[in-house]
């Protein structure tokens, strides 16, 4: 029997992709509603953004959003690349590449949050 596989991770990742997608509906929904409607007339000025991010809960919420959206995006891109049949070595490169890019995006976002004063 064919045993070239990456074990049960495939299923777990698929489930995480589905769950992160469902979570994003909540997170992205609130991100858009808050950013554009709750703050009166939306986050228009730099000062608006600074005020908005002055609440620690807001920062935590936005960072969570960033983490989940990056995770979902990274897995999605990985899935597209895996569909191209990259072979064993290719799969390893894709896995590492996607992980590093995702980590970079998250760290950059967190760093950015603390740049705004």
């Amino acid at each position: 029997m064919n045993t070239k596989q990456s074990g049960t991770w495939a299923g777990t990742l698929w489930l995480l992709q589905a769950l992160s997608g469902l979570l994003l509906i909540l997170l992205l929904g609130s991100h858009m509603i808050v950013n554009h409607y709750v703050v009166e007339r939306g986050l228009r000025t730099y000062q608006d953004v600074v005020n908005y991010l002055s609440h620690p809960w807001v920062v935590a919420w936005e960072i969570l959003f960033l983490v989940v959206v990056t995770f979902h995006a990274a897995l999605g891109v990985r899935s597209i690349l895996l569909d191209l049949g990259p072979g064993k070595g290719g799969r390893r490169i894709i896995n590492w590449g996607i992980t590093l890019l995702g980590l970079f995006a998250v760290l950059y976002g967190v760093w950015l949050t603390f740049q705004i004063k």
Binding site: W14, A18, L24, Y37, L112
Partner: protein
Amino acid sequence: MLDTTRFNTRRRQRRPGAWLHLKGRHVGAWAFALNRLAGLGLVLYLILHLFVLSLLAKGPRAWDDFVALAKSPLILPLDVILLAGILYHGLNGVRIALIGVGIGVRQHKTMFWTLMVIVAVLLAVGTWGFITV
């Protein structure tokens, strides 16, 4: 032997664009291709969005100039496209997640069209919001 010397020399061609060959295909394949295109679009937007946010690090001037640009009516269609992508990818994603664990597999087309109605309604509401806000 089925004359394998000859048969095995011919390997099947890979078709990396197979998912985009939609002629003669059905709703499911279209839904999948659109989902992937929307997803790719959203990844690009995410990168762009993060890049734009770097303006925040450069201080109020840079940001406020950008917001002024983003408020121009020329950007509105792009906003609508973005919202359409988000709504489509999100709601079709719900469908894929459900059928992916065996829920409503036989009704997947009905589910698709129902969700598309919801997408259309939300898109209309959202567009109205863009115009009026």
